[in-house]
Amino acid sequence: MDYTFQFGDVFAQLPYLLGGALVSLQIAFVSFWAGTVIGIAGAIARVYGNPLARRVTGGYVTFFTNTPALVQVFLLYYALPDAGVLLQPMTAVLIGLTLNAGAYLTEILRAGVISVRRSEMEAAITLGMSRLQILRFVMLPHIAKTIYAPLSNFFVWLVLGSSLAALFGVEELTGRAINISTANLRTIETFAVVAVIYVVLTLLASTSLALVGRWAFRVKAKVI
């Protein structure tokens, strides 16, 4: 009566699963960096912007952090076609997760922007630095140090959250896991293997983020 575990059917499909893991990483990577661009702009607008800009970014953050990412992608994928915009599965997922990440990263980065001391900003202006130079040499190093931990947490969340793409026809890790477990019905074994792949993915992700942090901003982050 007892269940016997058999991993053979799953291990035979390992290359197929790893191909899906690559797609998962791509989704997380693209939406993270595109979201970071939105996040930097949003954070600056929320801290230094005029009342209108603060309102608009505030509304954006409230909307996207208070609705599930799944619902956001669902609307992009299935509701937009009725308005004449037909997004490909991958495009819809990337836009959805980018907008979602942008909202969370706005809040995370805002904490970093606030951490920049007023005296340092004044010193930079006195030195005649341009706005871009101030951003690159004064603000970003501060921001990076303050928000390093929540930022890498969020990237890990994105790697795991990319699994929702399976519901919209993207063949990433979770989608491929469901595909093969449909045929072999070894669901527990399949998802046990997939869980280990996800752990490896997130370890890789946080390691590379730590390296980027050390190299670009001299953040003292543990690599492993």
Binding site: M1, D2, Y3, F5, Y78, P81, D82, L86, P89, A166, L167, F168, G169, E171, G175, I178, N179, S181, T182, A183, N184, L185, R186, T187, I188, A192, A195, V196, V199, L203, K222, I224
Partner: protein, 266 residues
């Protein structure tokens, strides 16, 4: 970090063998309830009706099984991909939801004699010129299907050329065709035709000639022999009394496309 990772793997390895054994026929009767797995989003097999209670073919069959056992019925909702995991992890005693019988699946769960058949046909629109299902075997055609449907694998052999888009639910497949994401769905037409009502402006077409016939059975845990034997005997009675076909007609408005041939020996 690595130590934590290994601890995690260890915890996972320890958690795996903790799968509970299935309930035997005696234990089900003693407990007074039969747990039946049905799909909540699968009209007219099973779905939440107007009164917000589960109704459909599977629900009637589940009730008949429980009644004959003399126990109460408890419906547990499972999505397509979760039917067998729910059975394996002992959350349900029997799995319904058009569980297609295949040798690969039979290595893992036990099947009763067939409950009903599914004849695969094509749902498409007037935008696609195909007259038979063979006409769909072109590179520029996109077939939509549900992740977790066995027909995905079978179709790779029958129609290898088209692109495949896998979405989440029955309604999503029809929506994908209506919105122009896909050209056709090859599945049991009866299961999906209801959803085309949401898109009355689309000119739907059905190619009925069956591509292949699959048999759906009631799934039980591997080696749960007493329960399976009971269900086989009961299914013979339900088939030969006409209960199965009448119930099918009641929910689908038409007889089963390919009826199950009843055999008293199994």
């Amino acid at each position: 970090m690595f130590r934590r990772f290994f601890l995690l793997c260890l915890a996972l390895a320890l958690a795996l063998p903790a799968v509970a054994p299935a309930r035997t026929l005696d234990e089900i009767i003693k407990s007074g309830t039969l747990r039946v797995g049905v799909n909540p989003n699968f009209p007219p097999m099973s779905s939440y009706g107007k009164s917000n209670a589960l109704e459909g073919f599977d629900v009637d069959v589940g009730r008949a099984v429980a009644q004959s056992l003399g126990v109460k019925v408890e419906f547990v909702t499972t999505e397509t991909a979760q039917r067998v995991p729910f059975l394996v992890s002992n959350r349900i005693d029997i799995a319904l939801g058009a569980l297609t019988r295949t040798p690969q699946r039979a290595k893992l769960v036990s099947f009763t004699v067939p409950l009903h058949t599914e004849a695969m046909g094509v749902i498409t629109t007037d935008k696609v010129a195909a007259r038979t299902w063979q006409d769909l075997n072109k590179k520029e055609v996109t077939l939509v299907n549900m992740r977790g449907n066995l027909s995905v694998d079978i179709l790779k052999g029958k129609l290898p050329n088209p692109k495949v888009l896998l979405v989440d639910g029955n309604a999503d497949t029809i929506r994908a065709i209506a919105q122009g994401r896909a050209d056709a769905l090859v599945e049991n037409v009866d299961f999906f035709l209801n959803f085309t009502r949401n898109y009355p402006n689309v000119k739907w077409r059905v190619l009925k000639d069956p591509i292949f016939v699959a048999y759906c059975a009631i799934g039980v845990r591997k080696n749960n022999e007493a329960l399976r034997e009971f269900l086989n005997v009961l299914l013979y009675d339900l088939h030969s009394s006409g209960m199965i076909n009448d119930t099918w007609k009641k929910w689908y408005g038409a007889p089963m496309a390919v009826p199950v041939a009843v055999d008293p020996f199994f």
